[in-house]
Symmetry: C4
Subunit: 212 residues, 4 copies
């Protein structure tokens, strides 16, 4: 699956422009402040990845790196920049490979951090219509979101992410919470990733509001 050139609402979009537009939206939501967070999306056989250490709302289409999703090698560097691809690449590639995702976003939302405080290694969400916004989930389901421990370096999260992606309890899940840190959310393409990101962040806030 790839970044849809023709979106679900019938309009064509340039995948690079779309990723930058979503980063601006995520910034406005408070999900990628302080240069944190990130996004990647498949464009055919290429993986478009935002650079690291950059104010995410300022990223322009030429600032994106092109990577080989299977090896992680940089096929095309971002233009006129000394930056590197996002440090999330390891986690992004693990999700693409094991879940057949077409895009993955990484959030530093406070709501994600506080939602992870509600559970030990799993956040169980139930009793919300919004659950139907997750592919294959009914509003009567108990939806389990894995919570993994944080690590000193983003790259070291890969083994924890891979472990929960293999865990059958989380077969239906399109998100991983990272304690003290935030969340990774994905979907079949960029638009479903945006949808899932909005749904999961709504659920993170709702779960917390109900418990307090």
């Amino acid at each position: 699956m790839t970044v849809a050139r023709r979106t679900t609402d019938g309009r064509a979009d340039d995948p690079r422009e779309l990723l930058c537009q979503l980063l601006r939206q995520f910034y406005a939501n408070g999900w990628v402040s302080g240069t944190g967070g990130g996004i990647c999306g498949l464009d055919g056989r290429d993986l478009l990845v935002a650079p690291t250490g950059v104010h995410k709302e300022t990223i322009q289409p030429p600032d994106l790196f092109v990577l080989d999703p299977s090896t992680g090698a940089v096929l095309e560097p971002a233009s006129g920049s000394t930056s590197r691809p996002s440090e999330c690449v390891g986690v992004f590639r693990a999700v693409l490979r094991r879940r057949g995702a077409g895009a993955v976003m990484h959030s530093h939302a406070l709501d994600a951090v506080l939602a992870a405080d509600l559970g030990d290694d799993v956040l169980t969400v139930r009793g919300f219509e919004m659950l139907k916004g997750i592919r294959g989930v009914a509003n009567s389901d108990e939806h389990a979101v894995p919570i993994i421990a944080n690590t000193a370096h983003e790259a070291d999260l890969v083994s924890g992410v891979e472990r929960v992606l293999e865990d059958r309890r989380f077969a239906q899940t399109y998100a991983v919470l990272v304690r003290d840190h935030g969340a990774y959310v994905w979907g079949a393409d960029v638009w479903e990733t945006k949808k899932h990101a909005e749904v999961y962040h709504w659920l993170f806030g709702a779960a917390r509001a109900r418990r307090s």
Copy 2:
């Protein structure tokens, strides 16, 4: 009553453009995130309805369906799209028919969900000037908003909605809360629906803030 072509503030507006503009505003308010929620409005004898499963803030005038409000039949499909009309059509039509509404909006606001948690089958709101923003309501009134149970499918909400619309306790009400889900809000035309939506969401937040 129809989508006013000449609005209360003296300007003409295209009904399709107006509905799309309101969806962008609702999205910014957090009421229709994750492709949730929706809107419909009468344009003469036609009912304009937003499509389902689409990011609501991206909807453009040609993306709207034209339905026959009395039969629910699609008179004109949305252009260049494989999408279907909102799953809220059944509820929308029930409200149009029983209340003579000219427009109905559906919200997935967290404040609506948490307000529904405050009551069993009714949320009673009192002691707010903002009540005067609802047609026919005084700021000294006790205003009763019905709360109905959620269902597995949006279409199955119709009977619950029809039941409360027939209930004399709710004769003055322009909103229905759906537990765990959100709210439906309506008015004589699109502008009154926007006004009522803003007033009810303010009241939902205020009711919760006062009780905690």
Copy 3:
């Protein structure tokens, strides 16, 4: 004092355009949702007043009424409209007359309503640098904001407002809280009114956050 044609930051502004721009800003702040709230400002000897019952963020310069501030008579109706001037005119004129204000805004902010819940007939604010944003107030002052009871009709607030404007406890105050309703805030001109509105709303939120 009048709507400054040359603002404190050295730029000229059309008073009508400025009032409309502030209404859009107030709307974005959640202070005038659901057609609530309003604003007025002196333009020389004329009093510019926003219409009632209109979505405040949609108001354009020709939509403003021109009133005689001393009699309240309409000198120029809003163009192409059947609307009436804001129902706040009585309170606006009382503030202009007794305090020599050049502009007054009316807010339906939830923070104002909840701040009024913190006191009986006065909200005492202390211990915030932001107090210095009010003309003549030091950050070590105890600042008293009057709270008056709400009435069935906006026009009936005038006597309550006049009473507290005469009260020596409130000689330093540029705001009146109306229980269950919101606040009136004023200043020497439109820009000071905007400044005072931002300062008082910040203090309303801060007072509540500290007490809980």
Copy 4:
């Protein structure tokens, strides 16, 4: 270090335009409402400083003052204005001198005020990935942010700020909290200052959310 003409994401920016753009962003965040707060940045040997008493979101490039950072003398007044440079200049210069900063921002955010309530003379932040957004800090560090007492006049904060800048406990810190008032945040250039401001405000909100 200076305002980067070529930013970290590879684009050139006019330093004056950049400072004004950040003030608009800070205003949207609620950090500089009511004309409060401010910013300064080095442009080569010049120090660009926003004026005092002005609505910060309205500031345009010619409104900035040019100061000599070592003496504080005004080299170029703001054009067409009777305003004075920000009252924060004393604190700004202390931070530039003692920390080699290239820019400093001053915030009146409610989250900063409430975070200062959490400590006596220090706010200790731990257990957040976001700590990595501060230069030289690891996510496993205990990060100490100094809290100083407020003073009647902004200029009188200088000695308190200088004292904590000399304190070895705060060698790693890029922010000072001022009780009842807000925060000063800085960085090597304007972009790092923006980054640090976003990171510290996120941490202020998170520290409070976790304790309650």
